[in-house]
């Protein structure tokens, strides 16, 4: 078993969060958010990976053949769908922010505080 996928997942999560925290542009920020989320894809897929495992399609292959875990793939797909919706919404809001204030900088649109 290799530790590399786990290290990649941790790195993606942290670097994405750092990007979200320091971003000065909402579109850039939305992309950083997807980077954070891709860490969960990498993690899920590496959790379910079996060395020399076949794709989990059991038609026409003998019973007992080693296959990778199909559950994590379903989870990853769901995760992707969720992420697309959120990113679409944030991009739409970024458009509105630009229309209203001429800027997509989160600092500039901070109208309410305290």
């Amino acid at each position: 078993m290799s530790y590399l996928p786990y290290a990649v997942a941790a790195w993606l999560c942290l670097v994405g969060l750092a990007g979200v925290a320091t971003s000065r542009n909402l579109i850039h920020l939305a992309i950083c958010l997807t980077v954070t989320q891709s860490s969960s894809y990498v993690l899920l897929l590496s959790v379910g990976y079996v060395r020399h495992g076949k794709a989990p399609i059991f038609k026409g292959i003998p019973l007992g053949t080693t296959a990778v875990d199909p559950v994590v793939q379903a989870l990853t797909l769901t995760d992707v769908v969720v992420s697309v919706v959120v990113v679409a919404l944030i991009l739409a809001l970024a458009l509105d922010a630009h229309r209203l204030s001429g800027s997509v900088d989160p600092d500039e649109i901070a109208d309410v505080s305290g």
């Binding site: 969060l17 958010l33 809001l93 901070a110």
Partner: protein, 604 residues
Amino acid sequence: MTWIPPLLVAIPLVAAALVAGLDHVTPAKVQDALVVASSAATTAFAFVLLWQVESQEVVHWFGGWKTHGGVALGIDFAVDPLAAGMCAVIGLVVTLALIYSLTFLREAARLFDALMLVALGAMCGFAMSGDLFNLFVWLELMGVAAYALTGFEVDRLGPVQGAVNFAITNSVGGYLFAVGIALLYARTGALNLAQIGRTLLHGPAGGLVIVAMTLLLCGVLIKGAVVPFHLWAADAYAVAPAPVCAVLGGVMTDIGLIGVARLYWTVFDAPFGHGHAVGDVLLWLGLVTAVLTGTMAFLQRHLKRMLAYSVLCHIGIMLAGIGLLDSAGLAGAELMFLAHALLTAGLFFLAGILHVDHGAIDELKLRGRSRGSWAPAVAWFAATIGLVGTPYVGIYLGHGLIDDGATELGRPWVLPLLWLGSALAGAALLRAGARIFLGWGDADDALLGRALEEDPRERRVLRPLLLGVALAAVVLGVAVSVVPGLGQRAEYAADRFRDRAGYTARVLRGRPMAPPQSLPITIRHTSLDSLLYGAGATVLALGLAGVGLYRRRLPRAVAVVAERALAPPIHVLRELHSGVIGDYVTWVAVGTAVLGGVWALLLH
């Protein structure tokens, strides 16, 4: 009767699809009827379910994929009294909000209704789910609906900022939750909560489980807007339309708390239940949240922002109740949730009415302008007193049960801190009520900061309808503490919720429950301590409200000392709530790291 739980999700989601899909085809009246009827039907089924689950656990396995030899093959809804009760309250508040918005938001109508119904279905699904990954899906679904509802009035910058901050902070929470799921799945090979708990009971609970717990709990604590993850909430609730605020503030924030309770008692009680480390951290988070956000509520002049902080203050008190990890504390949190949801919704509805009447939602701008409108005034003060927890009004009974739990566990210092929080938040609302409905107090106060931009005014409303809905919510909420038998049933629900072995047996083995003993139908009494603290909190709230109204009349020496002592911390508090998303995400990251570090130290 296992066919009822899926209906609580299916009815609102199908209705939402119909409403969105048949836009411009069916007449508006038919659409309105469909929306309100589907929400009311969901609520009615939730009450039927609540009656059903008293004597059995209603478990629904989707697609007929039942357990096999005690191993979960499919995905389930496992409904206990707490989940069913939660669904009933959620349904009630959403139905009231939908009736309120029949005339309140006419232009926005169709998609607004569809989004509200999606949020309703998702919240019910979250409350009933017995599957870890489904918790994530419902969390994200209600989140997306809520972000869109917050940013509904995109013609102004405030709602855009509120929706952006809400969406990004909660999405980060969702991703932390997803990583937590992956780690737990890697350790246990299961997604069913009961099965994960059973597996963790036997294996060693290493660092991996602690990290997974930290990520999962932080994910739901962000939804629950607990300090330091709370910064998004005031921005979002201040800008959303009043009926949306009623749903977000009344029930959706609390969803985070049921997430904490569900995850702890189905999963993490197994490896960590022998100690009190997890609970103590939650208790402290709750106490800090209650006092800090209570203070923030007192510093607001925008009514919806003030109410948002008041919501967070009560969230803190409920989290402290859950963190006690005993039945009394959990039962107290349930009862508080019931009263707080209705009263908060009622106050948001009243704030909406004030805005309709005067085109402003600012305490100072509204000073004295609602003199003589008696019904809203009485409702406002009744709801406020209910939220302070004056003996036998509103949240009092729930608060009293949390007190009992804290005293039994030998943590009596919890009581004054909790009552201080609710007194602070209550004082802010009392002060606002006295200014607006009685015209008391100074016309200006620099302590309350600057005025925020006002929402556009809704004009073509049916005011009696708005008022009727608001009064209904307030009356129901105020009565919670004196409904006979409610306290005992909440304790029974809490006992069952905490019984992990029983839950596992009922879900995975289909074992029937021992018939419950019949519960008395009397008003549950509280300890003398709670009575005294409740009365004390009321006096303190009235006193603080008086100080807030007539600050200038304080003796000069007192005023100078108070200014010197309080101005710097107040300044720091305001600076923390900066409204900038980068700061919020930094707090999320730091908070998660600190919580994980503390748990790693305490649990290892």
